[in-house]
Symmetry: C2
Subunit: 151 residues, 2 copies
């Protein structure tokens, strides 16, 4: 098997392997953070709106079973993002609050940029829910700049 058959010269450009692997790896890392970020953001919102964040409410809003929500809350605790005592609701640690704040900033900025680009608001909100988890500092900065510079 060994080597590539040199059938024909590469006629299509690909990024160098290590570069491409790094990019994909970054995406995978982000992937595993998606759920934690959404939970943190939602819990912060519920706490702000209702003064409490109950597993059932979290589950309902996420559209998952309460069992799933509870398991993920356990993961948030393991990650040092939340605290929760049985039957007593969920709270965010400082770290959790920081994360929630950062996610909220990204969420708003992404929605605003999409809207500014002419995306209808429901689509903007829905897409932002995914996009928000992949926006680097560079992109964030560019987004803010773009919004400012264009009123």
């Amino acid at each position: 098997m060994a080597h590539h058959p040199a059938h024909h010269a590469p006629s299509v450009e690909l990024p160098a392997e290590p570069t491409q692997a790094r990019r994909f790896g970054k995406t995978r890392t982000a992937l595993s953070a998606v759920v934690l970020e959404d939970y943190a953001e939602l819990i912060a919102d519920l706490l702000a709106a209702n003064g409490e964040a109950r597993p059932t409410d979290i589950a309902r809003r996420l559209g998952v079973s309460h069992a799933t929500a509870i398991k993920t809350i356990a993961r948030l605790k393991r990650a040092g993002l939340a605290t929760a005592r049985p039957y007593r609701g969920v709270f965010l640690t400082e770290k959790g609050h920081d994360l929630a704040d950062r996610v909220r900033v990204r969420h708003r900025l992404v929605v605003d940029v999409l809207r500014a680009l002419g995306v209808p608001s429901e689509a903007a909100e829905a897409d932002a829910e995914g996009i928000e988890h992949y926006v680097s500092e560079s992109t964030l900065k560019a987004f803010a700049q773009f919004l400012k510079s264009r009123g």
Copy 2:
């Protein structure tokens, strides 16, 4: 337990539950497609560049073990996106090619928009690798429009 304590009136606005659940659900669906989309796009690129797509090459470019790549290739087959016979490389079905084409279009469009917004190219490429999986038709259209209207 029953009802929410009416401690105080909700002072923060949240989207209606079903709406929010639908958005999150959409994101989860996209999530499970991320890997398939990246594989399809990469396999198409390898086929175009090298005339073949071998599990090892796929693995190297994704930054993943060959065992992982092989398992995912099996999933692509199950999903009707690829064909592969032992020791004979991976090929895309028509469905697989279609998917790869659509993903490539999104990828380019996202990169172009990020670049146009002033994001440095390496960050644009890296972020696009994630963002591309969450861009709806609406947003795609808006992106294309934006690029056209601004030269």
